[in-house]
Amino acid sequence: MNQQEFMRRLEELLEGISQEERKEALDYYRNYFEDAGVENEQKVIRELESPEKLAESIKEGLQENVTAVAEAQQTDSESMGESETAGDYSYAATPKEAAKPANDNTALIVTLVVVAVVTSPIWIGFIGSICGICIGILAALFGLALGGVVGGFACIGVGITFFVVADVSSGLFVLGISGMLLAVGILSLLLLVLVCGKLIPWMIRGIVSLIGKLFHKERKEQRA
């Protein structure tokens, strides 16, 4: 195999990576051969072993970039003193291990997403029912408040009219009803204000902090 054949094979093998990375790597090794000189051509080819091995190391390097940057950020934010332990694998012997943590994490996330999608009929129904019940209760309170207050005031009007046009007992009866309606209406109104003003913000805060905790935990696990 000569340099041209080697480079052509390498170019084919690097099909899978981005155009930019491919050009970068091919330029580098073309340069490398040129700088080594014709007299060293076979020596370089022998040391690079095979286009297959070289393509493998280039691709692993691209994955490693991701983990190495993540490791660097992790050690930066913790203590700089531990930076030496960040990449403690043997570089030439086991480059594969560098890609592993990323793969494990991706596998975990994919599994979680799949489980969430598969079980969606259950939890969507569940969340839907809870939302429905809450909205139902709110609507009922609203209806009671509106009906009670409006009806109460209307009955006051009717009661007064009865006093004037009919007899005292009918008037008192209707006024009594208006009092009860107003009581129910005002009570519902107070409850509604309490729920909207206190309970709902409290629930939203709770949900937000719960989600926040979940994400925080996940981030910590990723670091570990």
Partner: protein, 107 residues
């Protein structure tokens, strides 16, 4: 060599090799220079150079040389800072290991 070269040490050695060349240096020469200090295969260096470049520690540029374009590498300011940090880390690390080997008191 019986001792493994970790990723951080390899980064540090490559940064040092590039920083020695004020006018920049190129892949083949860096490989030969690094090999004076540690054993690496020819395919090891490219991913390291690419990573250091992406982290902003090295700057790459093309220069005409003998009728063809050659890719050169130069250390950046933050690359120098990183190298200085590596130097300090290495000094404390290696002096402790040396002290341990020679039976001296470790400070």
């Amino acid at each position: 060599m019986v001792f493994n070269t970790g990723a951080a040490l390899l980064d540090a050695v490559v940064l040092a090799a590039v920083s020695r060349e004020e006018d920049g240096t190129y892949g083949y020469k860096i490989t030969q220079d690094v090999r004076k200090a540690i054993e690496i295969s020819e395919s090891t260096l490219y991913p390291v150079l690419r990573r250091l470049q992406k982290n902003g520690y090295l700057q790459a540029y093309d220069m005409e040389c003998g009728g063809r374009n050659r890719r050169y590498y130069k250390i950046t300011d933050i690359g120098e800072q990183q190298l200085e940090q590596y130097r300090q880390e290495w000094n404390s690390y290696s002096s402790k290991i040396s002290a341990m080997f020679s039976g001296e008191e470790i400070v």
